[in-house]
Symmetry: C2
Subunit: 216 residues, 2 copies
């Protein structure tokens, strides 16, 4: 049984949870409270020296980290249903869309960056939220330009890891109050994705540790 090390708020973990659901791979989740610094504990650093979730463990598998590396591993080891196109050009486009949100926007808003903004520039909660909103919004500008009119998926109307990453980006968009009115194509794809049961069940607000979820 795979073990997914997670934190309910983590957008990167949300991506992995969606993909595991879509591929029907059974997994147990182990929640770590990153809000109290659980990821700085030596025991956790053995799992991931970078002190971040997600990390995926199972049997003889060395703990895997980084959402994209985990999704590619899942694609190779559990290819059905595919979350990458079959042609190299399509795969490149899907991966670039994934990275447009997950690498160009998300790393800018994580807690360690907020902590550094506070320490180096005296950023407070309001400024930190404005910073995050800016980057989530920036990610949408380039994204909107790459979606087809009327699209319900990011690429060729087939579900892919680009959709997985866009869903996680849109959770951040909602969290930081970015207005989607300027981005109708993104909004349409997002509405379609959140209606998929495997995406809905994986949503951060439904995970253990979230404010409205009862502890076990």
């Amino acid at each position: 049984m795979l073990i997914l090390h997670s934190f309910w708020l983590s957008l990167a973990t949300y991506r992995v949870r969606i993909a595991l659901n879509l591929k029907g791979v059974p997994f147990e989740e182990r929640a770590h409270d990153l809000s109290t610094g659980a990821h700085h504990a030596p025991e956790f650093k053995k799992l991931n020296p970078a002190g971040a979730v997600p990390a995926l463990e199972g049997g003889t598998l060395k703990p895997l980290t980084q959402s994209l590396a985990i999704l590619e591993w899942l694609e190779e080891t559990c290819p059905d249903p595919p979350l990458l196109p079959h042609d190299s050009e399509g795969r490149a486009i899907v991966r670039s869309l994934f990275l447009l949100t997950a690498a160009d926007a998300h790393p800018l808003v994580v807690p360690r960056v907020q902590a550094r903004l506070a320490r180096q520039f005296g950023s407070d909660e309001v400024a930190g939220r404005a910073w995050s909103a800016h980057w989530f919004r920036e990610g949408l500008v380039a994204y909107e330009a790459q979606l087809a009119p009327g699209a319900t998926r990011c690429h060729r109307e087939v579900l892919s890891i680009a959709d997985v990453a866009l869903a996680s980006h849109l959770v951040g968009v909602e969290r930081f109050g970015v207005d989607l009115a300027e981005f109708p194509r993104v909004a349409a794809v997002g509405a379609s994705l959140f209606a998929i049961p495997e995406f809905a069940a994986a949503h951060p607000r439904l995970q253990r540790g979230a404010p409205d979820v009862q502890p076990d």
Copy 2:
């Protein structure tokens, strides 16, 4: 013939240049001066709506963006010599090492982030350099913990995209004056990588637009 759209300082473009060199793929480079905002021009946005280099064009190929997506495309279309291991677990580890530098550190130091720090927090050049140095240093802490003693490559002593990304990270490390003394394993791998002709020839400081390079 492939066309690589580039800017001499770009660490992401450096990664693609190394991989093209290693695989012996002929390409022409087209330099864009990002320091004067060439990436904001409508013509450039047609190439990459995100307004960033690298972008790779060729024949009927839709322009490909994002260094990792381009490297994966190269690996699929020009598999020799391989820059990913043959087993899924090894591939996952190499990809996670790549992302540890290219996604967790590099997006934090690019010009658009520096511009936002200046606008939102009044950051100046000194503060901007301190910010960049912090993130390049942070990337090294987690990296050092994942390298084997005596290693000359990032993973299993075989050249991979993890080495490509580490070389680009180390160019940033040098640019921002981060001391490598605390990171002897990283320093050893780096010294070994920069001695490889395909890495050396791709170095940003040797590219058109760099201060010591004569214009054509």
